[in-house]
Amino acid sequence: MLSFILRRVFVSTLLLLGATFIMYLLTAASGDPLRDLRESREPNRDELIRIRSEQLNLDVPAPLRYFLWLSGAARCLIPFANACDLGVNVRNQQVTELLPIALGSTIQLLTGATLLAIVFGIIIGIVSALRQNTGFDLTVTFLVFLMFSLPSFFIAVLLKEFIAIGFNDFLADPNIPPAVLIGIGLVSGIIWQSIIGGDRRRRITVFAVSALATSGVFALMDAINWFRFPGIGPVALPLIAIGIAILTTTLFAGLQSRRALVTGLIAAALSIATYFSVQGLFDISTAGTIIIVGSILTAAGIAVGFFAGGYDRGVYMRIGGVTAALSFIVIVIDRFMQSWDDYFTDRSINGRPIATVGASTPTLDGDMWILGIDSFTHFLLPTLALVLISLASYTRYVRAGMLEVLNQDYIRTARAKGLGERTVVMRHAFRNSLIPLATFIPVDIAAVVGGAIITEQVFSISGMGQLFIRALSNVDPNPVMAYFVIVAVVVLIANLIADLSYAVLDPRVKAPQ
């Protein structure tokens, strides 16, 4: 194993050297960094040209200049020496100082999008595989096909230029006309009946119940002006927490397991108690406090599961932990919603909360909840665009993996033993169908670092992708190279992790020599 890793690292280093060399020559060929100076009419033009040539070593031919650049970049490998030198840009700023800012906003943008895409991709993919060839499955398949044919900037521009305005208009005067209410109900009814499936009678029941429930909830929200003053509040929050407990129990253990249900409900009760006790603390807290409170609550949930004991202790611990963690997320969302009105009426927001440009409102001032909402409204549309694009491939992977697993002999064995459908799907099929994702997710997360070049461009978020595109357009070689070297290193590491994790997860794959 160790020798395999070492060999891979060695080969990867060689690949990295080769790829950076190619990129360096291509970047050098992409234009003349002195172009703007040559065309300028400044009296000290020649002096400026001389200075920039010196800063960027332009008098050295490109293949040799690569080695100058490499000797600076290689110093990044010395730990703690802070000797990293990726050169300067045309304005004589150190590239190493530009990178952290760009990396920060890219990670901020893409973490949420990637997580959401993975979660929803898994859910939709699995449901679509379990309901193979139903209306739901074929609709999902059609949408996936469409998404593969859509240019990403098309979705992003559509969201930015058309949806944002409509959404802001709606928030300014949140009124849902009755026709739309009925439409929402019908759509939700159609979706739910195709997911739940069954015979005609069951479908009609599901359709009616879900359509009425959805329309009812929206009508209620409309009636209490929820979209203007959003919140979850002390009435709905306990209900949601209990709902989470029941859902988690259903998925992990099945409702007939009383002990599991009680575990879930105790965890939910703990969360509800937390909700009422931390409100004062939240007003003065920072991100650190919230993480600590959340971890304690999750740990308490796991502990409940542990003490519930029994032969299935692991499952109970999972139920307790997941219930507590999800409920805590709802609690935090509730707190954010409490600050919504302050944010909405702030002078720099002026009642148009959904932003289309940048990562934050520059003139806005407030506590972490206000600033958090500000990030949310800025990242909402770009995240939506990214999720829509990457959801397609996740859905397809999970669906294909699930279908393959469902055809395996061990699934037939599990059914033949008389196990329930839930156990077969959740315990036998679901886990195995995720193994292929282990090779897919690391590489996808690596792409996070590279930024979403086009989405960042559309929404003017100054992340890694923007850094790259701006430097490339201004013929500024060093930032381009810095961007590339970071992306390449992360991709190589991700590939190594993907291979190793696959070997660990799937015993059929020969462990690397």
Binding site: Q132, F148, F153, I469
Partner: protein, 364 residues
């Protein structure tokens, strides 16, 4: 395409005595959506190249994509498709069917020029990448050993550079070239750096085909390597090559549009569909047609090429169809095995599309 079990017997009877290529053609023609998509591609190509002409050849549309016209009626599109008896203004193109932009340029001529450039890039990229990828993959797969190792490491070297990153740098290089030439140059550069996926697939195909009995037989009969490769292996691998080439085409359209959007590929004064969207972005609220027309044509082209690829895949490898659902619906018929997931091998995450092992012998 229509391979529901009850039909299979009849089909097999039909197929007796036909050559392999006739069979493939037949199966492709049965894929209605793929055939329709192929017609759409031909129609769009015809429209784009005849309307504003290409190079020195003039077209039937009076305006060029560069000339400034007097803005008429705020640049509203004059295209009308509702016939008079239905209460519309009759089917007519008018002076500016797709409207005009802020400075009065004819949007129809611009979109047509953009399509021409998209198609040019698409064909050049696909041609170069297919030839290069087949050669590299074929040599690596056929000779194995050291040659394979070296070629595959070179492939890895190019594969770690993200597509859009290298494409952006190449687009920047190509944008130096003049009007008309720049597009070809861009396509050529993208093709030169876009062959890796093809090489990997072709290599895998060659690796399995070279172990087959008919290759052994050819060797025994004293055939040269060249003869074995071109007469025995390539014809059997042609399915993989063609299907991957169509996927390359779809990718190339999207890539060109993205580069145009970033202003790194085809640049003004020439037109790219992506560039049209980016240049007019500020006036979408007042002139939405400047957004929809280029967008619709990008999606139409990509979707059509993807469907053709899907139809070809089914035509070359009908074995997957056996696992096709019993219940046939229009959408299932449209999407075939790829979209319903039967043909996908989730164990290979690097290429979500077009990476199936197949043995063409099984198609008979």
């Amino acid at each position: 395409m229509s391979t529901a079990p009850e039909k299979t017997k009849k089909q097999e009877k039909d197929e007796v005595g036909l050559s392999q290529s006739r069979l493939i053609l037949r199966r492709f023609l049965r894929h209605k959506i793929a055939v329709a998509s192929l017609i759409v591609i031909f129609l769009i190509t015809g429209l784009a190249f005849t309307s504003i002409g290409f190079g020195p050849i003039p077209g039937w549309w009076p305006l060029t994509f560069q000339q400034l016209n007097t803005p008429v009626n705020g640049g509203q599109p004059t295209l009308s498709l509702i016939p008079k008896w239905a209460g519309g203004e009759g089917i007519s193109l008018g002076a500016h069917p797709f409207g005009q932009d802020r400075i009065g340029k004819d949007n129809f001529a611009q979109v047509m020029r953009g399509i021409q450039n998209s198609l040019t890039v698409m064909f050049v990229v696909a041609a170069i990448a297919t030839v290069l990828g087949t050669i590299v993959g074929g040599i690596a797969g056929f000779y194995r050993g050291v040659v394979d190792n070296i070629l595959m490491r070179i492939t890895d070297l190019f594969i770690i550079i993200p597509t859009l990153v290298i494409a952006a740098v190449l687009g920047q290089i190509a944008s130096g070239a003049g009007l008309g030439v720049g597009v070809l140059f861009l396509g050529a550069l993208l093709g030169l750096f876009g062959w890796m996926g093809m090489a990997r697939l072709v290599r895998a195909e060659f690796l399995s085909l070279r172990e087959r009995e008919f290759v052994d037989a050819a060797k025994m009969a004293g055939a040269s390597d060249r003869r074995i490769i071109f007469k025995h292996i390539v014809p059997n691998a042609i399915g993989v090559i063609i299907v991957t080439a169509t996927l390359l085409m779809a990718g190339a359209i999207l890539l060109e549009a993205a580069l145009g959007y970033l202003n790194l590929g085809v640049r003004p004064p020439d037109v790219s569909l992506g560039g049209l969207i980016s240049q007019n972005q500020s006036s979408f609220v007042t002139r939405p047609w400047l957004f929809w027309w280029p967008g619709v044509f990008i999606i139409l082209l990509t979707l059509a090429v993807n469907f053709v690829g899907d139809g070809l895949r089914d035509a070359f490898d009908p074995r997957q169809s056996r696992f096709r659902p019993r219940r046939r619906s229009i959408i299932a018929a449209m999407f075939g095995s790829r979209a319903t997931g039967a043909g996908m091998r989730p164990s290979d995450p690097t290429s979500p599309r077009g990476d199936e092992k197949r043995s063409p012998e099984g198609t008979v």
